[in-house]
Symmetry: C2
Subunit: 353 residues, 2 copies
DNA sequence: CTGTTAGCGCTTTCAC
DNA sequence: GTGAAAGCGCTAACAG
């Protein structure tokens, strides 16, 4: 920057200003400076600026996995919002491990982010302590933690499955199973299982049956294996809910492969409304969550909170619930078209929350 | 850090050392310092350290999309390698736009990354100039650019499709179509299309037919739409190659929905070997690329290059080709099990490169 | 093994 | 509208 200043015949301070404010530098000076910057190929160094201005321009976002279209969508929405305020997102993924999350929290804090957005409300004690001491806005998402660190933008995973169970019950299904990953698995999956057990109880169903298959992130393959065990262990089962759409897809294709008609022999439902569920044949019943909505809201809340933090005030705690909906499709036999006699594509939806 | 030093009765320098070297600080002093750090909840500030040491500890990685299991895998492998050297990855996604990539390159350079890994070899002139002037290691991946910026870890996208076409030709298919996104689309998709056209020519096939559908990233939905247009425009078509597995999956399910048997009426193949292709029913023929291998190699090459850069030397240019393979499955009728008569699961593979 | 001094490249603050 | 001085929180380099 000193080089640029010298060549433009101004002080470094003026160069710095030309790169920011649109006010205090005269148009003539600015264009001259810009020309020199272009010539020299100079690129502003934010890390030096961060040190002196005490604004790093970073926001940390922690997600369980980068390879999951639900979290990617939330991520994408968050960065879009951050971009509008010239904030960069530091992405970290925990691989569904709170221990790894704890390490991530510390390495992130070393970069002095101006805020941190987490997935879920379950952290190690040390991780939580670090979050509380960091003195920056904290937002937990994709969950409704009983004892949140501070702000929340999420929904109850358990409740979504209760809604789904009720819908299946209304359609006449009584013997309903659940497939999820082996504990310790992702916390949200366990919440969904909790919702399943609660619904079995509430609806007075005779029996609950959970098949645990694979370690998080469980996927298509685990669904294929899980459904086989489900049928072996509980031949009477009429419907199976899977902890995610990929698992449901795996379960469904394994059924087709073995000649078990879906939904004729067995209904299947998932969670997450991945694109694959809309286009699978038969299409998959699922729970649709506003992934991008979570990201957008968390991002905007973060901007608010950072603004407050910068001018020394504090944003009151916000707990935002994001709506979800049960989307019924062919795999639970609740959409017009049976697999073998194709027709319309529209699914029946009903909004919750 | 000054607080910690005071409370531990040492200088700040000793605290700094205790947090790094394992040598020069006595065990007693170190434990005392660590205890104070624990008490105070102190977290090292890397941005200040970066300024003085001239090592930011950042490496930038630019990918087209965060929501793509191929790139996620590469990404994951890169960060795993970087972690071993205490380097943080700054992720940026271009949304398949070189203009956005150009902006990203500049914002990334503002953070003074110690190296930059890009997807593809196609950049704007300004983007390329910035990369060249940055004086940090540059690695282009997922491609074999004719005029690389510096290092490369990739493969020829065109060649993969030529291999796939040859295989289909050997199986007796002659009327083969191609589905991809509308230009300007992702550069790698266009390379694959180029490979398709080249193979049509080489194999002396009567006619080439390309259906362009949707803007990148094109996905399941676009495949479903594309296949319908393909059949309308070229009713004789015997096999269709899709620019990616998701597109192929969309094409295939649309066929099933309309009662067009796959591969009976029409063979379908994709690209990328997504998990869905292995588990779809019928399973999808595809090209398997070593996504994680690209990431691992690019990461290791980057560590090498950074080491050289730090001690003032220069690593000679490396162009690494990563192997790929054509994986034949049910959707091209080249695997034992026909869709309606399930049996074994093993696919026929053959390695290239 | 530990301390002192200087300075990384910006921005804040205050002066003109 | 522009400049000068001071300093952000660390670490390199050298001294002891």
């Amino acid at each position: 920057m000193a080089d640029v200043a010298r060549k433009a015949g101004v002080s470094a301070m003026t160069v710095s200003r030309a790169l920011k404010d649109d006010q205090s530098v005269s148009a003539k000076t600015r264009t001259r400076i810009m020309k020199v910057i272009e010539e020299l190929g100079y690129v502003l160094d934010l890390s030096a600026g961060a040190l002196s201005s005490k604004r790093t321009g970073f926001v940390s976002v922690l997600i369980p996995s980068i390879n999951n279209s639900n979290f990617s969508e939330t991520m994408h929405a968050i960065s879009s919002v951050m971009e509008t305020a010239d904030l960069h997102v530091l992405i970290g993924y925990s691989d569904y491990s709170v221990q790894r999350e704890e390490v991530l929290i510390e390495t992130m804090l070393r970069r002095r982010p101006e805020g941190i957005i987490l997935t879920g409300g379950f952290h190690t004690p040390k991780g939580r302590r670090m979050l509380e001491r960091a003195d920056i806005p904290v937002i937990e998402t994709w969950d409704l933690p009983p004892d949140p660190v501070r702000h929340v933008v999420g929904f109850s995973n358990a409740e979504t499955i209760v809604s789904l169970m009720r819908r299946l019950y209304e359609r006449g299904y009584q013997k309903i199973g659940f497939i999820c990953g082996e504990p310790p698995s992702d916390a949200r999956g366990m919440d969904r299982k909790r919702g399943y057990l609660q619904a079995v109880d509430e609806l007075g169903l005779a029996r609950a049956h959970v098949v645990f298959t694979g370690q998080a992130p469980i996927s298509i393959k685990d669904g294929a294996e899980g459904i086989v065990r489900m049928i072996e262990e509980w031949p009477d089962v009429e419907a199976v809910i899977c902890v995610s759409d990929l698992v449901a897809f795996g379960a469904m294709t394994e059924c087709l492969r073995r000649g078990w008609d879906v939904p004729g022999r067995l209904a299947i439902a998932g969670f997450g409304d991945f694109e694959i569920s809309r286009f699978a044949w038969p299409s998959l019943t699922t729970v649709s969550v506003g992934c991008a909505e979570i990201g957008r809201r968390a991002g905007e809340l973060m901007l608010e909170a950072i603004k407050h933090n910068r001018d020394g005030s504090t944003l009151p705690v916000e707990i935002q619930q994001v709506p979800y909906e049960v989307v019924e499709r062919q795999s639970t036999g609740t959409q017009d078209a049976p697999p073998k006699a194709p027709s319309g594509k529209k699914a029946k939806k009903q909004k919750n929350t």
